[in-house]
């Protein structure tokens, strides 16, 4: 029997995917919010004069960056409960996985951006009597943050797509919902096409928002 494209299936599928979209957005937002906090903390630790803090943050980044997210997710959801006897609900596990994973990459973004600020800025801050913390807060960070925006946007898009890997622990996010629909109607072509388009809509929205933010900052003048 020849394949026949059924656009109606796509129209039917779309509303059914919305619950998955909602969960994907929630996981992405919560994960990235926590990931940002972890990233800033670890990024600053990597810049610290204290070698213990530096090594600690360095080890975290290497560990997370050097292993696949899917392995991290399964270890968190299946591995840790086996050792500790503590079951983590899938949604919580998903948020933790995205947070811990994006945190490592954001740490590198933070470190790189802060380091890219000309050393003379630090000296100028110190020369007017600001403490090291004040120099960071008023001089370095605002400039570094502007440089972080494009790579952070990139990370947002990556993390959003990464939530699809949570399918392996049964979180009912977008990809999982798509899978469940196919289990009923067997229309893999139409359903995956729709799922893909929905992801694209979300990532394009992020790109759009970022471009607006970047433009606004540029218009306000200053590097």
């Amino acid at each position: 029997m020849a394949f026949k494209f059924e656009p109606d299936v796509m129209v039917e599928t779309f509303p059914m995917l919305l619950s998955g979209v909602k969960l994907t957005i929630i996981i992405t937002l919560c994960g990235l919010l926590i990931g940002f906090v972890i990233g800033v903390l670890c990024g600053l630790m990597k810049l610290s004069k204290n070698p213990v803090l530096r090594k600690l943050a360095g080890a975290y980044v290497e560990l997370i960056r050097g292993t696949p997210l899917i392995v991290q997710v399964m270890f968190l959801y299946f591995g840790i409960p086996m050792a500790s006897g503590l079951r983590i609900p899938p949604l919580t596990a998903g948020v933790i996985a995205i947070a811990v994973n994006s945190g490592a990459y954001i740490a590198e973004i933070v470190r790189g951006s802060v380091q890219s600020i000309d050393f003379g800025q630090r000296e100028a801050g110190r020369s007017i009597g600001l403490t090291q913390a004040q120099t960071m807060l008023y001089i370095i960070w605002p400039q570094a943050f502007r440089r972080m925006i494009p790579p952070l946007g990139n990370q947002f898009i990556i993390s959003l797509k990464d939530t699809s890997l949570l399918v392996v622990i049964g979180v009912a996010e977008l990809t999982r919902v798509g899978q469940e629909i196919i289990a009923v109607n067997f229309r893999a072509f139409e359903v995956w096409l729709t799922v893909g388009l929905v992801y694209l809509m979300m990532t394009l929205t992020i790109s759009r928002v970022l471009k607006t933010v970047e433009n606004r900052i540029e218009r306000r003048g200053a590097r």
Binding site: R126, S127, I128, I139
Partner: protein
């Protein structure tokens, strides 16, 4: 005002400053000249501890910079610094550049600081640029803002690290003009410079540093017209100032 005793500074295995003794009185304008790599900027940067000395002692306005109980942030406010590359804060307006120190370090109210800031910008001839951002200024204007920023903390001495070296030739004059004005007002100034005419005209004292030591130290007329040290003679010959 500033007393330096037996200053030594190493960068790794390289000894850059090999024992410098120097005493600068309040109100003096001291120009430090010398070939590049002579260590003159390093001496200046040690005076507000942007560079850590290897051994020796530096006392600024009665504060031993390396004493355990010295608040280095406080001492730095007493010794303002003007950099070769201006180092203005690009994300702040000209006025904010000037008022940041008074507000955050001196605890001045924003209103008070703005008044002071406008006054200082007027002094360097840039009051109409208060709301502009550094990138909208010329090099000479940037450096004048940097001078206003240093003045905002009402320092007892201002250190200038080659303040005109990064400027286009036609912009050097406006910066030197502002510096002259400060000198005439009695500000204590230590200026590392290649502007020999400025040193000759404005300085009370010219110090020639080469190979990490002070080779000659005296009033400009003497240093420029009657150099004794062969290295100084050679240096002045190269920069075209033999008389």
């Amino acid at each position: 005002m500033i007393t330096i005793k037996n200053l030594h500074k190493n960068f790794g295995a390289l000894e850059v400053i090999k024992g410098i003794d120097l005493s600068i009185e309040a109100g003096q304008v001291v120009c430090i000249i010398g070939p590049s790599g002579s260590g003159k900027s390093t001496v200046l940067r040690c005076i507000n501890r942007l560079e850590e000395l290897t051994s020796g002692q530096i006392v600024v306005d009665g504060h031993d910079l390396y004493a355990a109980d010295t608040d280095i942030n406080y001492v730095r406010t007493e010794a303002g610094m003007v950099f070769q590359q201006f180092n203005l804060f690009p994300h702040m307006s000209v006025l904010e550049n000037v008022t940041l120190g008074p507000i955050k370090v001196r605890g001045m109210s924003r209103h008070e600081a703005n008044k002071l800031g406008v006054e200082l910008l007027k002094k360097v001839g840039l009051q109409e640029k208060a709301k502009n951002y550094p990138e909208q200024l010329s090099g000479g204007q940037k450096q004048r803002v940097a001078i206003a920023r240093a003045l905002a903390l009402k320092p007892k001495v201002i250190l200038f690290d080659e303040p005109t070296s990064a400027l286009d030739p036609e912009l050097v004059g406006e910066v030197l003009e502002v510096m002259k004005k400060l000198a005439n007002e009695g500000m204590t100034m230590v200026v590392v410079t290649h502007e020999m005419d400025f040193a000759r005209e404005v300085a009370d004292r010219v110090i020639f540093i080469d190979k990490g030591v002070i080779q000659e130290d005296g009033p400009p007329a003497e240093v420029f017209n009657n150099p004794k040290n062969p290295r100084l003679k050679d240096f002045l010959g190269k920069v075209g100032h033999v008389h």
